[in-house]
């Protein structure tokens, strides 16, 4: 149940209102938007007489029951789009933010050359994996702490904010200067990690699990938000289906639904969804057209010799061509790219 507050409600009135509900055993979410402020009750609200509260409580303008299990991330509770700033870059609000970089940081030379190339082509954020979740224990597991170090050097040199994946809560220390912390698809329902990362208060990029529903993705974002972060970027990256010609099936409809159900920005990773280089550019154009807030693309200076995900990585020239292709299309959507 969400109570939309009157514009002139004073903070002390709101605090008292919240305390009153918490005394009755409810949890609460206090949401501040540009259009209105709201208090959302969590718990069994079936016995709450909604009309009575609206009538008797001066600071409440109106109330609504929320049938969805997700509350804090729900657009009913917070109606305007959330806009996120990460290292000077805006995600959401009339922008189409392109994140690019290699699957894995492999060397200083590699990450620097890719960083400079993607920056020149117009990418706004640099990606690079250091801790890599790999199906096989015999596959390259990432450069670990050293990889983060090299990524941060690339950040310093190029000025691009960076995003990298955290795999467990003991790695927090390495991520202090990482602008955006990625929760990978395989960890989308690692709830203890969500709580720990939520408490860090940083910008989080939350990838959809390959067999998780849209609703479960929103519930995992709810974990982050109740733990302390409201700067969450949702990321569709393909789901597991019977079709084997692509690595996963990009669920492009999810972008529209996520933006309808939630106020959080939504980006798409076409590289992992497709797993095939030649699909990345057309899918990227579709992602822009469908209304996403951005894109995360794998770019490698030498895809054939990449230590991971080479088959789906663009080389810098292909990425540059893609960016040139995207620009007039972004203009048509009234989005800065």
């Amino acid at each position: 149940m969400v109570f939309i507050l009157n514009p002139d409600a004073k903070q002390e009135q709101i605090d008292s209102f919240i305390r009153q509900w918490e005394a009755k055993g409810f949890s609460t979410i206090f949401s501040v938007g540009t259009e209105h402020r709201a208090v959302c009750l969590i718990g069994n609200t079936s016995s709450v007489d909604m009309d009575h509260v609206v009538e008797t409580c001066d600071i409440v303008r109106y109330a609504r029951r929320i049938t969805e299990q997700y509350k804090a991330v729900n657009r009913s509770v917070h109606s305007e789009d959330t806009i996120i700033k990460a290292g000077g870059v805006t995600i959401g609000e009339g922008t189409f933010t392109v994140i690019a970089g290699p699957c894995s940081v492999e060397s200083r030379e590699q990450i620097l050359s890719v960083a400079e190339a993607v920056k020149a082509s117009g990418a706004k954020i640099l990606r690079g994996g250091a801790f890599k979740p790999r199906t096989s224990p015999y596959s390259f597991q990432g450069m670990q702490a050293e990889g983060i170090e090299l990524l941060l050097q690339a950040k310093e040199i190029t000025g691009l904010p960076v995003v990298s994946e955290i795999m467990n809560q003991t790695q927090e220390k390495y991520f202090e200067n990482v602008d955006i912390i990625q929760i990978g698809a395989r960890n989308m329902q690692n709830f203890d990690l969500l709580k720990a990362v939520g408490r860090m208060g940083k910008v989080v990029l939350l990838k959809r699990g390959m067999a998780n529903t849209i609703e479960e993705l929103l519930m995992s974002a709810e974990y982050l938000m109740t733990a302390g972060t409201d700067k969450i970027i949702l990321c569709e990256r393909g789901i597991r289906t019977f079709e084997t010609m692509t690595r996963n099936t990009l669920d492009i409809s999810s972008v529209v639904l996520l933006k309808q159900k939630s106020h959080l920005p939504v980006i798409v990773d076409p590289s992992h969804a497709a797993g095939i280089r030649s699909l990345v550019a057309p899918l990227s154009k579709a992602v822009l057209a469908v209304g996403a807030d951005g894109l995360m693309v794998e770019v490698h200076s030498d895809p054939k010799n990449a230590l991971s995900d080479g088959a789906q990585s663009l080389d810098p020239e292909q990425f540059d061509a893609l960016m040139r292709d995207l620009k007039p299309r972004a203009a048509l959507e009234n989005k800065a790219i």
Copy 2:
């Protein structure tokens, strides 16, 4: 195995070449493109010495093994895009063809009003179901022969060519004046129907089954082609996955793959894929951006009272807004709409 022929090969030489292979027990496909003509062998070609044929046979320029099971629809056999004419409308070749109309023909008034509305907004082909495959025997099964009759009246009045679904081979007689015969998703692997419709020699719109792979769709097109039709439009309409928030999951990547693997035009039906009205417009924009050759959209003059699929049908105003949205985007893709 496909033999690409020399440009100066004479038809009698080709005929003799073909007869020679058929005498050895192979089936053959003779493909005529604007760039070249080709003869494709079907059968166990493992013992054919490809190089020897190229060396000894004057009319053969070069040869290639085809690993895919689909041959006639394979881009390796016929490298240029197939362009289809149906009732004066072109599908493929720099066009983005919008097919629109109700799920089911329900009355003369209904189909005429929708036909005129969608024509005014820019649709090029009218859809309308008369024989309806419904999960329940208690649901409306379509107006049957009378529905086709009304659809043909709408064709005569508006001049729009029409497409409608055939459900079994005893219905052929009703489809004589229908411009495009639709094979529905549930019949994609009704192989006897494919053979019968293929023999009719008409333009066919072949929808992907909701649990069929891209390869299986191409194999079903191969059934049509070997039976006698080369005028086939492939249609992606969503696949069945674990996600329940949409009716099906639109597999947008399939558009790119189908166009890479085959020379046939590919359109998308976002209405059935999503099953939700508010998704149709954004998905349509994505479909155009990803490179499809067209769109099939359900439009109903009164969606709330539709006898089938009301929840996913646009009303004429929503369809008109969509068409206005699509036009500048088509221009950017250099496609006539």
Copy 3:
């Protein structure tokens, strides 16, 4: 809505009761069980005052709303297990009926040798495909009418009743002496075929489509039943999932659910589900243990050289070993095998 009738209701009273509802625009299903007779209304029953009918209508003992869309196949309408007789063999009622035979009839010698072998091992019904739905137009399409002829010769010689797949309604004439008509997985939602086969009034073996839900399978059985057949055997044969190590994923839970929801007998085809010979025997034991009414197993005299499905076919010795394995297990379940 179903009305359970008083045991002493006379047929003329029942006829009058039915006419009265049909006059109001409802369809009806009249179900005769050993425990009770029932009349089920089809249509919008929301305005029917159920209690009023029970109070005012002498022949009605009690009534119940049926929320499921399937009515005639619903256990609420017909509470006892349906028992089917096909060529002297009983399916259901304390039996575990094993159907065995080759995927395709390939020759007189082949079908006879398999028929005699499986009979000797204890199979009660012979399977053999003559019209084969194959993904590729270049694969063996079955011996067609001649295949049926050979299957019927095997029936005459061995005395085993036979089951074979019909692919379209123009083939009805060939199936006159076939004891059980199979609707294949790819045709489960070929609704016109269901209606046509339902009208034939024969025993039907209805296979679950590889991407169809349990509810859809029951709706397709409802098509058969409303068309005129109440002798329907449901068959689980695996569903399409992301797992590729098996051909399909055997949904063993569906057996329990189908028997809870419906009164129809349920058998399982482990050969198609698994697609791997070594899985057939353990799955067959599981199928018996879970409560199915029977089994359909592919057996070929020479699996390595089978024209279709060789990899999943048992040879006669393996089948014999399986039958010996199943017998004590059937005894434990109090089922004749």
Copy 4:
């Protein structure tokens, strides 16, 4: 590549053989079975001349290439069944081990009453969740450390060994006296957790992720094994498919495949797979018949008021009936229960 060693090879010879390969950059797995000992090479073995090694190296009897990515868990490397002892209970080797208990430990009284009941009915191991992965942050998250404490009290009183789920590596300390550590389905690809738990050297129950393939499950077991544990029990618990009538689809074929591909014992959790109480007993019988080494069943003293998974939990009487049902069936399979 695996080298099967001669029976008379001395340990010092083997050590030297291993050192020699490690010096060339390979990792090795040394496997000791009752039938033979083997050394498996991990790395790019394409340039190793297998025949040359067999000919020149006295201690090698024969060698084999392993195409699968999993090596240590591969039956080709270790051909006999692995038998596991946990708190005096044997898993594998002619046993059918039943693990039972509540989804969550909820109170001392609850866990004790369930523990005594399931012990009386014949369960050999007690399950009870303390750290609970829940889709919603607002759902009961388990009693945490206190839950483990109560579970250990139940162990002390009843003598039953216990299994409980670990959610992250900071919880290791609580699990010192827990006999079997469970990795839940959502953590099957939490590779850092696998490494950490593998290093603990305890018996591990590894559940298949709901969208993970059989091969991925084996790769995750490989993570555990290379980290230091060879006492791994694999657990099938249903996969995510399009079917919604059950919570998940029990992939019963996976039991057979896992036992063919790997030497590890395999059990099944029908409660989570089905999500419906009435399916648990028939599925359990199927699980025994198909060849699994055991069963994990949710039992609650008061399912209606359970804090989690009530709908799928048996009450003690239902569990007792199931155990009585299973006993003669286990006898038929020559398995102790």
